[in-house]
Symmetry: C2
Subunit: 144 residues, 2 copies
């Protein structure tokens, strides 16, 4: 009978690693601004692209529309984001960051990049191959 060692099994390892990295990453924005992961993703996406709709945010950040909806509301209550009804289609809303939102983003980004750089530096020469392998796997497991 074939055997399987869980600790060497790829899906398990990816899952474990992803959780650990996410949890550590929370320390980057946690202490100052208490964000959830979906909120962070909405913030980052809006900062990256400027004004856009909830649908577009969800597509770019791989989040279900309910997750986006709730994260948007949370950021709105924090005054980091404003809604503005699109004039040519009143179903959708144009979302954009406010000045405080942009400022918070500006504070988080350098630390986020430093966090990532720290991991890549620890990988040293293995960083490059890892990123290539990641890209290949992302291609194999595309966004739904």
């Amino acid at each position: 009978m074939s055997k399987l060692a869980l600790e060497h099994f790829l899906p398990y390892r990816l899952n474990r690693l992803s959780s650990a990295v996410s949890q550590q990453f929370r320390a980057v924005y946690g202490p100052h601004h208490d964000l959830t992961v979906p909120e962070w993703r909405v913030l980052a996406t809006l900062a990256q692209f400027g004004t856009m709709t909830a649908k577009a945010i969800g597509k770019h950040s791989s989040m279900h529309k309910t997750k986006v909806s709730r994260a948007v509301r949370a950021l709105e209550e924090r005054r980091w984001l404003t809604r503005c009804e699109s004039e040519h289609d009143r179903r959708e809303e144009s979302l954009s960051l406010t000045a405080p939102g942009l400022q918070a983003y500006g504070e988080i980004v350098p630390r986020a990049l430093a966090f990532e750089a720290g991991i890549l530096a620890a990988l040293g020469p293995h960083a490059e191959p890892l990123l290539r392998a990641l890209a290949l796997m992302e291609e194999r497991f595309p966004v739904d």
Copy 2:
């Protein structure tokens, strides 16, 4: 102001990939035996090591004790697992798989290995570096 592209950000990419792989993997044991991920982990761990306690399962599969507790109960109700009070310490229970549990495991494992092999094959020469990088990162983000 520094910029961050979410789709290239390592924690995001790991998280996305891990979810996608896990979801695809559910198709491996999903259709025949409807297992959750924690249940699969308990099954795999018990099959790997034979009789052991819930605490030990949690440690090996990186799961919180409540997750283990619930997965164990679910497998017990399915008659895939039996509890047996340890005689030298009545706080802990010796858990082991039943014949049906072992049989289900035996059916799942080859397909799980094939699933993993498929991914690694698609990575081709990038597989080896990926695994090395994974190991390095696991070292950097150890189990709590």
